[in-house]
C-alpha cells in the first residue's frame, strides 16, 4: 500500500477543489440554513456532481459508474468537506449504495445504482435507533414473518437524508437475525418520516414504522446477510465521513491561520504569540496524522485488506479528535467574533460535534480497535 497520490488522483482532487471554490462556498450552506430549505441541499448541484462522475466513482461502468475506488472518492469528499457541502454522498452513495453493491442482488443493483450514479435518486440506510447508541447490532425494530414477507415495527432516528430519500434501507430483527428491507418512501404504507433539525444543518429524519408490510421483494441480499451488509456499509460511510472531516479540519485551520496572521492585539499579530504558535503546531501535526489515516483506510478498502475494520476505526478515532481540536481552538483563536453566527468558524464547531457523534465516537472506535487487536 503506497501512500501517495497518482497523477490521476491529483487531477481528481484539483478538479474537486476548483468545483468547490466556484460552486460550493460555505455561504451556500449558510443560505440553505437561513432560508430553512426543505431539502437541505441543491438537487441541481447534485446533478452537476453526477455530471462529473462523483456519485458513481465507486460503481462499475456498466451501471453508469466510473469504476474507481475509495482512494479517489475520499479526495472528492475531502474537498466537499471543506465547505460542508450537504449533498447526499453519505446516505445515497455510501450507506445505501454500498449495501446494494455488496448485496449481490442484481435486480436491485440494476434498479438503483444507475440512478444513484446519475444523481437521479436519493437513498439512505437507517442505521440508528434511540437506545442503540453506536452499537449497530442493537436493532429493536422488528420484522415479523407475515405471509411471504414481513411486518415491520419500530423507529429509526437521525436517518441521513431520510426526509428526501426515494427509498430507505431499514435494518430489522427477523427470526434469522438482522435483515435489510428496501422500502420506497412514497408508496410504503405505515411509514412516517419527519424531518429533524440538527445543529450542523445536515438533513436527517425520524422514521417510524407501524405495521409496514414489506413483501419478499423488499429484502436485500440473502437471508442472514443483513448484519454484514449493515456493518460493511456503515464502515464505508464512516471512511467517507472521515474524508469530509479531514477537509473540514483543514478549512477550519486555514481560517484560523489567516486570522492569526491578520488580527492584531497588543501591537502585534496574535499569531506571533508563542503559546498560540505552539497550539497551532499541534493542530498541524494532528491534521497530518488524519490525512494519513484517511488515505490508509481508503486504500485498505480498495485492496480488500483484512485491516479494513481496524483502519476505519483508526481513521474515525483520529478524525473525531482532530476536527474537534481544530474547531475548538479555531473559535478560541477568533475570540469573541468566533462566537458570533456571522463568522464561519462556528459552522465547523457544530459539524465537528455532529461528525464525532456519528458512526461511533472516538472512544467507541478505540474500544473496537482493542477488540480487533484481541485485548
Amino acid at each position: 500500500m503506497e501512500l501517495r497520490l497518482s497523477e490521476d488522483q491529483e487531477f481528481i482532487a484539483r478538479t474537486a477543489a476548483d468545483f468547490v471554490k466556484e460552486k460550493s462556498p460555505l455561504a451556500r450552506v449558510r443560505e440553505l440554513r437561513d432560508k430553512g430549505d426543505a431539502i437541505g441541499f441543491s438537487r441541481a448541484l447534485w446533478k452537476e456532481m453526477a455530471g462529473l462522475g462523483w456519485p458513481g466513482i465507486l460503481y462499475p461502468e456498466a451501471l453508469g459508474g466510473a469504476g474507481l475506488g475509495f482512494a479517489e472518492l475520499v479526495l472528492v469528499m475531502e474537498e466537499l468537506g471543506r465547505t460542508l457541502a450537504p449533498e447526499p454522498f453519505l446516505s445515497t452513495v455510501l450507506l445505501a449504495g454500498q449495501a446494494l453493491a455488496r448485496s449481490g442482488d442484481e435486480a436491485k443493483m440494476k434498479a438503483w445504482l444507475p440512478k444513484i450514479c446519475a444523481g437521479d435518486a436519493v437513498l439512505t440506510l437507517a442505521h440508528q435507533e434511540a437506545g442503540g447508541r453506536y452499537d449497530l447490532d442493537a436493532v429493536s425494530t422488528t420484522a415479523k414473518a407475515n405471509g411471504a414477507g414481513h411486518r415491520l415495527d419500530g423507529e429509526k432516528i437521525q436517518v441521513l437524508d431520510g426526509h428526501v430519500a426515494d427509498a430507505l434501507l431499514i435494518p430489522a430483527q427477523t427470526d434469522g437475525g438482522i435483515a435489510l428491507f428496501l422500502l420506497p418512501a412514497a408508496t410504503t404504507k405505515g411509514l412516517t418520516i419527519t424531518r429533524q433539525q440538527r445543529l450542523d444543518g445536515r438533513g436527517v429524519a425520524l422514521v417510524k414504522l407501524e405495521g409496514v408490510e414489506a413483501g419478499p421483494e423488499t429484502q436485500l441480499g440473502a437471508p442472514g446477510a443483513g448484519r454484514a451488509l449493515l456493518h460493511d456499509a456503515v464502515d464505508r460511510a464512516c471512511v467517507g465521513l472521515c474524508a469530509e472531516m479531514l477537509g473540514a479540519m483543514q478549512q477550519a485551520f486555514a481560517l484560523s491561520l489567516a486570522h492569526l496572521k491578520e488580527r492584531e492585539q497588543f501591537g502585534a499579530p496574535i499569531g506571533s504569540f508563542q503559546a498560540l504558535k505552539h497550539r497551532a503546531a499541534d493542530i498541524f501535526i494532528e491534521i497530518e496524522l488524519c490525512k494519513s489515516a484517511v488515505m490508509a483506510a481508503a486504500r485498505a478498502l480498495d485492496a480488500d485488506s483484512p485491516e479494513v475494520p481496524a483502519l476505519v476505526s483508526l481513521a474515525k478515532a483520529k478524525c473525531s479528535d482532530g476536527l474537534i481540536l481544530a474547531a475548538n481552538e479555531g473559535v478560541q483563536f477568533f475570540g469573541g467574533v468566533g462566537m458570533t453566527d456571522e463568522y464561519d468558524i462556528g459552522f465547523y464547531l457544530k459539524r465537528a460535534r455532529a461528525a464525532e457523534l456519528s458512526f461511533g465516537d472516538a472512544a467507541h472506535h478505540r474500544a473496537r480497535w482493542a477488540t480487533l487487536a484481541g485485548y
Binding site: R133, R195, Q197, Q265, L349, R353
Partner: protein, 405 residues
C-alpha cells in the same frame, strides 16, 4: 420611608423579624415564591406581571432595591450584616430581588468610588428607583483582549463631547437607557493614558443598537454604534484621560462576579442534574449498578473531582479573605479554571448524550437535550469573555509567578 425603620433596630434578631414582616406585607402575593423573576427596571420596561413594578417601587421606597447604598442616594444604608439578613430572608421566602442589573452591580459601585456628588445624586438615585437600565460599553470590534487598544473617540464641543465609533458585547443594550463606556479623548497619548470613562444617554439619534446572534442562537449581546452621539462633559467619571483607572476598578468587580458564579457552579450550589444521572439515561449499568461504560465513568469522576477540588479552592480563598487576606491576581486562576471546567463538563455531557446531543430544534429531541446543545455551544465563549484564558494565564505568569515579560 417607614417610621419604624429597621436601621434603627439595634440587634439583628429585631431587624430580621421586622424585615420579615415588612417583606410579607409589601411583596405582592403574586411574586412570593417566585424568586426566579428578574426585575430589570428602566424606561422601556414593560413587565408581564404589573406587580413587579409595585414590588420594585415599594422596595425602592424602603431602600431595599440598593440596600447598602447611602440613604442620600436612594439606598437603604444597611450594614453588611443587615444586608446578609435581608438576602437570606429573600432566599428563604423565595421573594425576587427588587432589582437587578449593571446599574446596581457595576456602575453604581464605581460612582460611589469615583463619582462627583452631583453624579451620585443624579444617577444613583435613578438606579435605585429602577428608572434607568444601564449597559456597558467596553469592548470594541477591533480591540478584543487588548481592551486598552480601543478606538471609539470623543471630541470636545463646548460643554459636550461628540462620540463616534462602536462597542461590541454591550449586553442588553437594546433594552438599556444609559451606557457607561470607555472613549478615547487623546489619540496621541500612550494607549492607557488617553481614555476617558463617560456616561451617555442612549435615547438619542446618534446611538443605534444591533443585537448579536451567537453560534448558540439569540443572545443578550448587542453591537452599539455611535454616530455623532453626544454626552455632557459633566458625565465624565473621574478625570478626563484617567478612564483606565476607573475601568480597572470596574473590571475587578466583574471578574470577582464571574469567579463567584463559576465557584458556586463548581460546588453544585445551584441544583444541577449530576453527570452520572445523565449518563444513566443513555448508558446501561452493569449488575453492580456501575455505569456500563467505564471509560465515560472515569471521565465523569475526573470532571467531578476537578469540580470539587475547584470548589474547595474557591472556599479556601474566601475563608482566607474573611481572615483578612486580600484577593490577589490569583483570582485569574478562578476565571481560567472555572470556565474551562465548565466547558469540559459540557463537552462531557455532549459525549454522554451521544447523537441526542445534536438537536437544534423540533422533533426527536427532548427539551433538555435541545438546551444542552445550545448551552454547550454557549460555553465555548466562557474562555473568551471577561478576559480570555490566554490573558488570565499571562496575568498569573507575570503577577503571581513573577515571570519576566
Amino acid at each position: 420611608m417607614s417610621e419604624a425603620s429597621p436601621r434603627k433596630t439595634s440587634d439583628e434578631t429585631g431587624f430580621r423579624e421586622a424585615t420579615r414582616v415588612w417583606l410579607l406585607e409589601n411583596c405582592p402575593p403574586s411574586l412570593q415564591g417566585k424568586s426566579q423573576v428578574a426585575i430589570w427596571g428602566g424606561r422601556k420596561w414593560r413587565p408581564e406581571n404589573p406587580d413587579e413594578r409595585v414590588w420594585l417601587e415599594r422596595a425602592a421606597s424602603k431602600g431595599f432595591s440598593a440596600p447598602m447604598w447611602p440613604v442620600a442616594y436612594g439606598g437603604g444604608g444597611l450594614s453588611k450584616a443587615q444586608n446578609k439578613v435581608l438576602l437570606s430572608l429573600l432566599r428563604e421566602l423565595r421573594i425576587p430581588l427588587p432589582l437587578v442589573g449593571f446599574g446596581l452591580t457595576m456602575i453604581g459601585p464605581t460612582l460611589l468610588q469615583y463619582g462627583t456628588e452631583a453624579q451620585k445624586r443624579e444617577h444613583l438615585t435613578r438606579i435605585a428607583r429602577g428608572e434607568v437600565l444601564w449597559c456597558q460599553g467596553y469592548s470594541e470590534p477591533g480591540a478584543g483582549s487588548d481592551l486598552a487598544g480601543l478606538q471609539c473617540r470623543a471630541e470636545e464641543d463646548g460643554d459636550e463631547y461628540i462620540i463616534n465609533g462602536s462597542k461590541i458585547w454591550t449586553s442588553n443594550a437594546d433594552a438599556a437607557d444609559w451606557i457607561f463606556c470607555l472613549v478615547r479623548t487623546d489619540p496621541d497619548a500612550p494607549k492607557h493614558e488617553g481614555i476617558t470613562f463617560l456616561l451617555m444617554d442612549m435615547d438619542q439619534p446618534g446611538v443605534t443598537v444591533r443585537p448579536i446572534k451567537l453560534i448558540s442562537g439569540s443572545s443578550p449581546f448587542c453591537e452599539t454604534f455611535f454616530n455623532d452621539a453626544r454626552a455632557l462633559k459633566a458625565n465624565v467619571v473621574h478625570k478626563v484621560n484617567a478612564g483606565w483607572t476607573v475601568a480597572k476598578a470596574l473590571l475587578g468587580h466583574e471578574r470577582s462576579m464571574i469567579a463567584d458564579a463559576f465557584g458556586v457552579g463548581g460546588t453544585g450550589g445551584t441544583k444541577r442534574v449530576s453527570l452520572a444521572e445523565r449518563a444513566r439515561r443513555y448508558l446501561p449499568s452493569d449488575k453492580s449498578g456501575r455505569l456500563g461504560d467505564p471509560v465515560l465513568r472515569d471521565a465523569i469522576a475526573q470532571s467531578e473531582i476537578n469540580a470539587r477540588a475547584f470548589a474547595l479552592t474557591v472556599q479556601r480563598s474566601k475563608d482566607g479573605m474573611r481572615a483578612g487576606h486580600n484577593p490577589g491576581p490569583e483570582s485569574s486562576m478562578f476565571k481560567v479554571y472555572g470556565t474551562e471546567l465548565n466547558m469540559a463538563r459540557h463537552e462531557l455531557m455532549v459525549r454522554i448524550a451521544g447523537p441526542q446531543a445534536l438537536g437544534w430544534e423540533g422533533a426527536g429531541f427532548e427539551a433538555d437535550e435541545l438546551a444542552l446543545t445550545r448551552d454547550w455551544l454557549r460555553t465555548r465563549g466562557n474562555s473568551i469573555e471577561g478576559g480570555t484564558s490566554e490573558v488570565q494565564r499571562n496575568v498569573i505568569a507575570k503577577r503571581v509567578l513573577g515571570l519576566p515579560d
